[in-house]
Amino acid sequence: MGDFNFSYCVWIPLIPLFSFLILGLFGNKFKEKLTGILGTLALGIIFALSLYTAYEYFFVHGLVNGTYQKIIAINVTWLQFTDKLHINMGVLLDPISVMMLVVVTTVSFMVHLYSIGYMKGERGVERYFAFLSLFTFSMLGLVIATNIFQMYIFWELVGVSSYLLIGFYYQKPSAVAASKKAFIVTRFADLGFLIGILILSFITGTFDFITLTDPAGEAIHRGAEIGFMGMSVMTWAMLLIFMGGAGKSAMFPLHIWLPDAMEGPTPVSALIHAATMVVAGVYLVARLFPIFHFSAQPALNIIAYVGGFTSLFAAVIACTQLDIKRVLAFSTLSQIGYMMLALGVSGYGSHDGLGFMASNFHLFTHAMFKALLFLGAGAIIHAVHSNYMNEMGGLRKHLPITHATFLIACLTIAGLYPLSGFFSKDEILAAAFHKDKLLFAVEYCVAGLTAFYMFRLYFVVFWGKDTQYHHKPHEAPFTMTIPLMFLAIASVFAGFIPFSELVTSDSIPFEGEIDWMIAIPSIAVGLLGILIAMIMYRKENNYPARMAATLKYLYRWSFNKFYIDEIYLFITKKIIFRYIARPVAWFDRHMVDGTMNGIAGMTNVISFRIRGLQSGQLQKYGFVFITGALALALVFIYLWTK
């Protein structure tokens, strides 16, 4: 490690925090424009700082003896639990955290910039920017966490910022419901996370990431021999932790909150629900990857299958949705499934760790192109004031820049050479191929489906029928188009970043290459998807209707998202609310409190009964007195003599 001092990195999360405090406390006194500029300025600064850090880390100081060092730039004790267990607050720099720093600040900066135009004239812009800053702060804190508890803390904070931002239009009941749902579902997952942390910390005696993930250290191997219900305790702990990650990353079956979360403003969806927060689960698994690999292999397999299933499941649903943001949401699910799968199939060490690298690579490229897609969708919604693609069509003439960038994003996600999506997806497929052929096959299908639904969206919105709009759609202002263009450029060229030389499972760079035997069929599948979409949706025709009629049940189930929401509703509303909470409330009021009132009532009744003795009749009193006195005399003189 060089003698370079990275401690300035502490300002990367702190600047957005100050921005949050200033905007949150005094924002309503500022002019609307000023709030946006302030927020964006703060983000600009940390964007630059992050890039600088990345440069210093990856190219100047990070690589020592062929290994990227884990650098703890700053670390202070925040709370002491026991002698060994304490929460620290600090900054940990290693390849994945630096990469995430770049991702988060880039997307966040773009979204801030974009929001100045998008949110113009809305009520509560200062609140919006304050929340965005809060989110950025929390996400950065999560990324640079030095220990698992710090991560949990910021994990919760990103959850709450997501809640606040989804519920930004708080007068809209659907937004309120969606925000609530998002928070509670992720909270439920976090319960697993928390218990996982408890188990893990108890076994290993530390929260610290570096100690935990050191493959040569002893912490990682503890607990592997203690079994519990067929799996080692460590596996259970890691599974529970993954449950937290699955909640945040919306893996099946905890994915239900993400489509609803699209009720938030579109830039928020781009930032939180596409590029950054939802990949926190992936980041978590990547962060703890050595433990998963060395002591919890079954958990890793489960992750792979959950990821694979989610990617397929979400891709199927995405093919039928009409709300463009929901299509993108399911697409996000599908892509995160990819990343999870990649981690699940990955091994440890240079080439074996291909999946690990591919996952992070895909995380990076996905952040760029998915943010681009969402921001593009935002520009479309901004122009036509609707979320539904059946109310759109022929927009390519009205929104040229949006059209161009959107097309680039679609091509990228479809995985066409030489766009960035191709490279990362190819690595994932290669990793899956070596590990599990079934998953590999699934991913091929998903690749085709992805291309299909993305181009379905593209053709319906930008081509298709020529819709008559109430007022002519106009291109977005430059604050919105600049981020679009920037991200489009990033999407195109991000693939050429030599990721295998930067982010690897054991921090030792290796030479990555493209396996054309896998890549060419995948491109072909992608092209096939695009072709089908083009046939079906380029011009208005009856193919889609016929398709839907042919695949009647599949279509209906897919359109209704396989009724998962309904199942959840049934469980929460019917079972928990009706059969637990209400009986508890009743029990408390009537049984427990009834007992108390009953005791009081009984006292009352008894006193009512025995008051008859107080008849007021002097002679009765006299009689009782005399007999009582006699009885006492008898007792104390004759019976009770010691």
Binding site: T82, G167, I195, L198, F202, F577, A581, D593, A600
Partner: protein, 502 residues
């Protein structure tokens, strides 16, 4: 005059000052001045305490003074504080200070109201600084009795019923408690010698096991009733919902803690063997109350009921952690007391302010308040988030310390209990968000809401101060944790010494 006695003298002088006042304004300002002095005293106490500890004074109780006041029974006015009582005193002074502002709009009998309120606070302060069990009990009663008047006279709804219920149940607790304390007194000198009520001296003797089996449940349940121990908590929802704002604040914020503090300081500290032997029964009860309170809160319609049940849940966690009997969990328990005290006071203050505007506390009859009273709305959201354990607020710190501490027990029983208790964080989120969703968010429900005014300066002061306290602890918890933790060392040593012997 020793420093701690000021905590009793200042409120009494304030009461005296209020008696002399001529109009409402004077009454309020006298109360404000008195309680501000109290707050400053408490802050100074914290600093003095920390300085003293830093200087290496390792006595169990600092600022210790001892005066005889009833020689025949060796009852003494013995005062002293350790880290735990300092935290409690600070908590009380914060809440009574903000409580004064929260009751700015009391409509009738100002003088009597503030006199009762401050008398109540006097009792609480006295309780926390006392080391002599009898004097402690005296102050305990002083804290309970004005409650009856405060709820019965200035309350809302079925106030006579609630006040009577509350007082009777607490008196029932007192009866058990008195038996327990006297039992301790008569067992305080097993080897002969002078009987004593002094906590420190009793803690040094070994109370016979047969006596402990009898006295531990007495004292624990006696204090537990005041601490809303399931299933003896039902006075709390009724009492809270009828009580005026400041009383709810003090009650949930401090009086519940008083019960927990007593259960800890008297029952567990003095009778560790019985705590080990009988702890599991109470652990089951508290585990139930944690989850049960949370589920109970989901279905309630009245804001105060929701909060009362939430208190049952959160306070259940305090006893739960205390019964875990290790340093980390107990540390968390005390922090949870402080945290929940401030948080729930904030809640009740806000509920009082909202009630003052909408004249209802039934959530179904309100909606969209965020738009019309943003300050209170935001404050309510913050209180809610703090309550569901968001990092950055005090609740998180306390809960996590409790969970980590509880997890240090290896056996299945404690593990299962901990997991059940953990699950309350999800249920808490459900009811908190439900309330926020119905109450604050959504479209403005009635047109006349638009005429509502947002918080006035005194309301802002009260609410803002509490929020600053919550966030302060939540962001920088280490000093509090250490202050409490140091004082827990002798307790934990005593508890664990027993477990080694057995």
């Amino acid at each position: 005059m020793d420093y701690l006695t000021y905590f009793i003298i200042v409120p009494l002088l304030t009461v005296f000052g209020i008696v002399l006042c001529k109009n409402d304004k004077q009454v309020k300002w006298t109360a404000v001045i008195g309680m501000s002095i109290q707050l400053i005293l408490a802050a100074a106490l914290v600093f003095m305490y920390l300085a003293e500890r830093k200087a290496g004074n390792m006595a169990e109780f600092l600022f210790y003074h001892d005066y005889m006041w009833y020689p025949a029974l060796n009852i003494r006015y013995t005062i002293g504080v350790d880290g735990i009582s300092v935290a409690m005193v600070a908590l009380t002074s914060v809440i009574i200070f903000t409580g004064i502002f929260a009751s700015w709009e009391v409509t009738n009998l100002h003088k009597e109201f503030f006199i009762s309120l401050i008398l109540l606070a006097t009792g609480v302060f006295g309780f926390f600084i006392c080391v002599d069990l009898f004097t402690m009990f005296l102050f305990y009663e002083l804290a309970v009795i004005p409650m009856y008047l405060l709820i019965g006279i200035w309350g809302t709804g079925p106030k006579e019923y609630s006040a009577m219920k509350l007082t009777l149940m607490l008196m029932g607790g007192s009866a058990l408690l008195l038996v327990g304390l006297i039992g301790l007194y008569f067992n305080s000198a097993p080897g002969g010698g002078a009987l004593t009520f002094n906590l420190i001296e009793i803690s040094k003797v070994q109370i016979p096991m047969e006596a402990q089996r009898f006295l531990f449940p007495m004292t624990f349940v006696g204090f537990g009733i005041l601490g809303a121990l399931f299933p003896l908590h039902t006075w709390s929802p009724d009492g809270h919902s009828s009580a005026p704002t400041a009383v709810s604040m003090l009650h949930a914020g401090v009086l519940l803690k008083l019960g927990r503090y007593g259960a800890f300081r008297v029952a567990m500290f003095l009778m560790p063997e019985a705590a080990h032997e009988l702890g599991w029964i109470f652990l089951i009860l508290t585990t139930i109350s944690v989850v049960y309170g949370a589920f109970g809160a989901i279905q309630q319609k009245d804001l105060k009921y929701i909060n009362a049940y939430s208190s049952v849940s959160h306070c259940g966690l305090v006893l739960f952690a205390l019964l875990m009997m290790n340093k980390t969990a107990m540390d968390g328990a005390i922090m949870q007391m402080v945290s929940h005290g401030i948080m729930t006071a904030l809640f009740f203050a806000l509920i009082g302010m909202i009630y003052g505007r909408t004249h209802t506390r039934i959530i179904d009859e309100m909606g969209g308040l965020m738009r019309v009273i943003p300050f209170l709305g935001v404050a309510y959201v913050i209180a809610g988030l703090a309550s569901l354990g968001l990092p950055g607020f005090s609740g998180f710190v306390a809960e996590m310390t409790i969970f980590v501490g509880s997890w240090q027990h290896v056996d299945t029983f404690h593990r299962v209990a901990t997991i059940i208790a953990c699950s309350s964080i999800v249920i808490t989120a459900v009811y908190i968000l439900r309330v926020i969703g119905i109450l604050l968010l959504g479209p403005v429900r009635f047109d006349w809401y638009n005429q509502l005014t947002d918080a006035r300066w005194y309301e802002k002061l009260s609410v803002g101060f509490l929020i600053v306290c919550i966030a302060g602890i939540g962001i920088a918890p280490l000093w509090l944790s250490n202050m409490i933790g140091d004082s827990l060392v002798p307790v934990v040593e005593k508890l664990n010494m027993i477990s080694f012997i057995r």
